[in-house]
């Protein structure tokens, strides 16, 4: 699989480490134990379009949010996780 890195262009997925569902960006700030449990352990795990975190460990060490189809492995896009998180109002 080739991941279209927003800064570096097409990069081999082998350079990245897969870090799971991009919803993990939305870490709850505190909250009750049920909220934390749901965040840590439960996943949507869809068959089809999935937004997910890939860490460019063998590259520029950036985190990406990659949109990928889990049924076909087709990669539909990639953006910097930093931008996604800021758009959600995190790390102001």
């Amino acid at each position: 699989m080739l991941i279209p890195h927003p800064l570096l262009g097409l990069r081999d997925a082998q350079e990245f480490v897969y870090m799971g569902d991009a919803a993990l960006i939305g870490r709850p700030d505190g909250g009750d134990i049920a909220t934390l449990h749901n965040y840590l352990y439960l996943r949507d795990n869809p068959a089809g379009e999935h937004r997910e975190l890939w860490y460019h460990e063998q590259g520029d060490r950036s985190w990406l949010v990659v949109t990928r189809n889990t049924a076909t492995h087709e990669i539909l896009g990639a953006e910097l996780a930093r931008d996604v998180a800021r758009a959600k109002g995190r790390s102001k």
């Binding site: 997925a13 897969y18 569902d21 840590l40 996943r43 795990n45 889990t70 492995h73």
Partner: protein, 416 residues
């Protein structure tokens, strides 16, 4: 029809005209006492034990494709009970004991072959860990033998003992481990369940669940609505998709695991060898093909096929362990979808919806668990209490911090 040597002789002398289809192909009835969703190894075993051991009832198995079309036909056929943790080892030993009596029990040749499995040791620390694991196995009634380097050499003299990175220092041998013909497991359980009156309904995909006032009434399927008093779901890689019909999110990610078989070779490996440090394990099928595999690809997938980098990784592991494999050609590679749980251990539990039960999260270890998984799930469905060997496999263990993390990796499914 019971299978036996006499039966084969009789059929041979009468032109093999007496063989009949092994199971019926019934249309779904309007309702059942029990519906098992998933006609794979675990679902068929559940129906078999439910009908045979627990109660006379109207039972159906719903399979979206053909029986045994999923992971039960896609694995590397290994059985073993070499686990460490108290929540796991009694269960897997129970499973191995069921394997030992399985063929007599369901009157079908599943080619259960206890040819022994060796986990290789490369460091002093790994020897300590293997010793501890072996003792845990023996304490739970399993068998374990700690081999030194010469012990491994006597079994497999052609292994690469002096690899610079992972020299072989010994191994943990479980002689009762081995391999089973995986498809025959599905067929044997299917035939046994059918003979016990279970309706095996193929090409019947569950597309929804009818739930009212917190209780399941039945399932919507591609062949119409079917009512049920109790519904048990055992669908491996599709767990999240099916349980989403009940509005549930699971502590599971679906990942692809690849497996491989070489061209047929003369007898070389009479047991199973695992090279955990190099992500490679291998056995030899009765047809002569080397059957081997490695790690999951590591990203969410429902595609039933993997990518080339993992094939390269597995091939490198194979070359490091047994350089002779470099002369063999790869015949086939395939992928199956693993329901990777957050701690690497399974779930056999009730859900928050009355009458709905779940069996899944087997990661890539589901095949060896098939008999005990079926037995324990049938026990839960019939009695509403967990089987004594499966009391730890609960949904709430994550909330309680009571995870069963064999590898100590934490809540990261692609590391288990």
């Amino acid at each position: 029809m019971r299978y036996s040597g006499w039966r084969i002789i009789k059929e041979a002398l009468s032109g093999h005209k007496g063989w009949r289809p092994v199971w019926r192909d019934p249309a779904p009835k309007s309702d059942y006492d029990y519906i098992i969703v998933g006609g794979g190894g675990h679902g068929l075993a559940t129906a078999y034990y439910l009908a045979k051991q627990f109660r006379q009832a109207r039972i159906a198995v719903l399979e979206k494709s053909y029986l045994g079309s999923g992971n039960v036909g896609r694995n590397t056929t290994i059985i073993r009970s070499n686990y460490l943790l108290p929540g796991n080892e009694p269960f897997y030993e129970f499973s191995l004991k069921l394997w030992e009596g399985l063929e007599q029990d369901f009157n079908y040749n599943a080619m259960v072959s206890q040819r022994g499995i060796v986990n290789l040791i490369h460091t002093d620390a790994a020897r300590d860990a293997a010793t501890r694991r072996g003792n845990a196995m023996i304490l739970n009634g399993a068998d374990a033998v700690l081999l030194d380097r010469e012990g491994v050499r006597a079994m497999y003299p052609w292994l690469n003992f002096d690899d610079a990175r992972f020299p072989i220092k010994g191994g943990l041998l479980q002689k009762r481990g081995g391999t089973v013909r995986h498809d025959a497991v599905a067929w044997g359980y299917a035939r046994g369940a059918d003979l016990a009156g279970v309706d095996l309904i193929q090409n019947c995909e569950v597309t929804g669940m009818r739930i009212e006032n917190g209780r399941i009434l039945g399932v919507e399927t591609s062949r119409g609505y079917i009512g049920a008093k109790k519904v048990g779901v055992a669908v491996a890689g599709s767990s999240s998709r099916v349980m989403a019909h009940a509005g549930m999110r699971l502590p599971i990610e679906s990942h692809v695991l690849q497996a491989f078989v070489s061209e047929g070779l003369k007898p070389l490996i009479d047991g199973v060898i695992t090279f955990g440090a190099g992500h490679f394990y291998v056995s030899q099928s009765d047809k002569g093909g080397l059957v081997f595999g490695g790690d999951i690809d590591g990203y969410n997938s429902y595609a039933q096929r993997g990518n080339l980098p993992v094939i390269e990784d597995v091939a490198e592991g194979g070359m490091a362990l047994m350089p002779a494999i470099g002369r063999a050609r790869l015949l086939r590679a395939w992928g199956g979808i693993m329901d990777m749980s957050m701690d690497g251990s399974p779930i056999i539990d009730k859900t928050g919806i009355e009458g709905l039960y779940f069996n899944g999260g087997w990661c890539y270890g589901g095949f060896k668990a098939t008999p005990a998984s079926g037995w324990c799930f049938a026990h839960l469905l019939a009695t509403d209490t967990p089987h004594p060997t499966a009391t730890a496999y609960r949904f709430d263990r994550f909330l309680r911090g009571a995870m069963i993390d064999e590898k100590g990796q934490g809540a990261q499914p692609n590391l288990h």
